[in-house]
Symmetry: C2
Subunit: 129 residues, 2 copies
DNA sequence: CCGCATCCTAAAGGATACTG
DNA sequence: CAGTATCCTTTAGGATGCGG
């Protein structure tokens, strides 16, 4: 894997850009509980609907459908229908969706390193209360 | 600003680490709508409760309190009380919280670059429907 | 196999009033 | 100023059943 754009940018002296409502709403639609897991799964390759369902514990069909529709609408995911009978539907990461991959990896990595300290903070907080 | 750990890691051939429930829950508690704005604001320096309130449009006192408590419990934010009358309460980013800063910047930057294409995808999707 | 429609419950969150 | 407490509305989302 080569140097990412993300890395370069965080190293420049970036002006304190303010988050606008539109930007936050996009993040909300892409980083929520189910979306994160869908994107994470699709990073490993295209998946059928029921494959995704099995890969993501506890997701209901309704939530998965809603999540996939929203990701598709936002251009993160492509939906490919094969008109056999019964139909086969495949979901894959779009090129735009792929630009999120490094970011998701970074997020996950951050949680992995932060979690021990977070756990300590939680114990401390709960003990004080 | 120097090279970030985040950048380095995404350049290593990382095994496909699976997101666990704990990791996702931490992200949920730290990247939600209000938390993101609180952290973003605190990146610029310590703030009083009502300063935060004014800085974050549409947040209610109840939501802000809940958000700050959760961030404090997770060790992201420190709460400093000065026992004057009336009391002064200051919130500041903890060291652990500071490790999120680059990540949030990256997220925001991603939205800024992706948004135009997302908008096109949305129009396309809505037109088809 | 994929997904929509309906019903229903639980949880998030706003409005308002009150306190140290 | 910085909250807590209460009430009440809105929304997310689970369960179930049907249809292409």
């Amino acid at each position: 894997m080569e140097e990412t754009a993300v890395a370069k940018v965080t190293t420049t002296g970036d002006a304190p850009l303010r988050l606008t409502r539109e930007h936050r709403e996009l993040l909300d639609q892409v980083l929520d509980k189910w979306s994160l897991q869908v994107l994470d799964t699709l990073c490993e390759g295209p998946r059928r609907f029921n494959e995704l369902r099995r890969a993501i514990p506890l997701v209901t069909q309704k939530s998965l459908t809603a999540t996939l529709r929203r990701l598709e609408r936002n251009g993160m995911v492509e939906r490919v229908v094969t008109s056999t009978r019964p139909v086969a539907v495949e979901y894959r990461l779009s090129e735009l969706g792929g630009t999120l991959q490094d970011l998701i990896d970074s997020l996950y990595l951050w949680t992995a390193t932060a979690l021990p300290e977070v756990d300590r903070a939680r114990s401390q907080f709960d003990a004080d209360a």
